[in-house]
């Protein structure tokens, strides 16, 4: 069973539906017991980093995630959920993240000419692999996935799995131990996205 963490940020309808579509049981929950009994965990997230991180820490969800990671449970952070895995973010100030991934989250606008590269990056962009990963076992380099974001994971070479080109090599996927993150939305990336979720469900 997959636990999709509900901590009051974002819309979990498509995420839940996509697990049903690939034939995997998934539960949307904020109950630590359910989360700890799950085989794997999805950390979703839409919105502002500061708010979301605040909710994770104040609700005790961060501690649940630390325990789950320590137990070796696969965790997948999606979009803002990936960014929350980093040590810190510079989205409207400076905010502490979960710290699973070494690096920080910074505005795309700092890196590109925004008259050419609009912010947010919205749309389908191609993946370039930087490291082999079991997450990619059913997909190919160059496959397209759907991005919507204004901030990116920076300074995370050790954990980098894939990038995408948007004026520079933008972090698209990361991992450290059993903790994974995708900047793109697998649940909105059609067949390619479903294959990534399937591969995630097969991680041990």
């Amino acid at each position: 069973m997959t636990a999709i963490i509900d901590y009051g940020v974002g819309n979990l309808f498509s995420l839940k539906s996509s697990f049903a579509f690939i034939g995997e049981e998934a539960v949307v929950t904020s109950d630590p017991k359910v989360i700890m009994s799950a085989d794997r965990i999805i950390l979703p997230g839409v919105g502002a980093f500061g708010d979301a991180a605040g909710k994770l820490f104040s609700s005790g969800m961060a501690d649940v995630l630390y325990k789950a990671a320590e137990a070796g449970k696969p965790i997948l952070g999606i979009c803002l959920g990936m960014q929350l895995l980093f040590e810190k973010s510079y989205e409207y100030g400076e905010h502490k993240g979960l710290g699973f991934i070494k690096g920080s989250v910074r505005p795309i606008a700092e890196r590109v000419d925004t008259s050419v590269y609009k912010i947010p990056q919205i749309g389908w962009n191609a993946l370039r692999f930087t490291k082999p990963s079991p997450l990619f076992k059913y997909i190919n380099e160059g496959d397209f996935v759907y991005f919507v974001h204004s901030y990116y994971g920076d300074d995370c070479e050790q954990s980098l799995l894939a990038t995408t080109e948007y004026g520079f090599d933008v972090t698209a996927a990361v991992s450290s131990g059993s903790v994974y993150g995708t900047q793109f939305h697998p649940e909105k990336s059609g067949d390619v996205g479903m294959k990534i979720l399937k591969a995630f469900c097969e991680l041990k």
Partner: protein, 252 residues
């Protein structure tokens, strides 16, 4: 490099897909859920569901259909039509929409954009503008293109961006349904001031019009159309292969 998007629009009334020509003379087309799945399988990059229902029963039917589509189609879904309050955002987001487009609702209440952007993020708020030439200016029209608001479209779009709209859909009433190509002049004027993605709508009659659009206006991010896809005049898979052959970066 990010790809140019092809977006079919499904106008839905009482649970069925319809398409008007110049917003008049509506014809029934097909089942929204089936059509959504068909488009997704054909390579559509995104779908727009536009609710043109007036009744409360029709509105409930629309959200049921939206939820059904979102359970089987895993590409971004934008919902528009009848979005007047933040509660309307909530209603469709809960049923699987990823983005919500505002049009007349934002004209009546310009604070709607900022309120929704604060709550759901800019990426969730699409400003849809129906514009038409009036005395050498582009005027914003409300109520499905029937009412001239007198607002200048360029100023309206600037204001919408400032308030937090994350994307702009520009529908030219002058070219809509005419099938002679997108309104490159009007779109060009919008591209000059656009800081967020611009989606072109109104006027596509064949594949060549998409090539023309993306070549003439590199700042346009997506092309939206309805009837040419519904009636099979243009097949999305063939269109994207042609765009790619024409040197335009698309997802194949």
């Amino acid at each position: 490099m990010i790809t140019k998007r092809i977006i079919p629009c499904l106008d839905v009334r009482d649970g069925r897909v319809v398409k008007g020509v110049n917003f008049l003379g509506i014809k029934d087309v097909s089942s929204p859920v089936k059509l959504a799945k068909f488009y997704s399988d054909s390579g559509a990059d995104e779908l727009v569901f536009y609710d043109i229902t007036a009744s409360a029963e029709g509105r409930a039917l629309f959200t049921d259909i939206l939820a059904e589509a979102a359970s089987s189609v895993f590409i971004p879904l934008t919902v528009g039509g009848g979005i007047n309050t933040v509660d309307d955002f909530d209603r469709v987001l809960k049923c699987g929409a990823d983005k919500v487009s505002v049009n007349s609702g934002a004209i009546r209440d310009p604070d709607l954009i900022s309120a929704a952007a604060q709550r759901y993020g800019n990426q969730c708020v699409v400003l849809s503008v129906d514009a038409k030439r009036v005395d050498g200016k582009y005027h914003v029209f409300a109520k499905g293109g029937r009412e001239d608001t007198g607002l200048d479209a360029i100023e309206w779009i600037k204001r919408g961006q400032k308030n937090g709209a994350g994307e702009i859909v520009l529908n030219s009433i002058d070219t809509d349904g005419v099938k002679n190509g997108f309104d490159l002049e009007m779109l060009g004027a919008v591209c000059e001031i656009a800081e967020v993605p611009v989606i072109a709508s109104g006027g596509a009659g064949g594949m060549e019009h998409f090539t023309e659009l993306f070549n003439a206006l590199p700042k346009v991010d997506a092309g939206l159309a309805a009837s040419i896809f519904h009636f099979g005049e243009v097949d999305i898979k063939t269109l994207k292969a042609k765009l790619s052959a024409d040197g335009i970066n698309v997802r194949l």
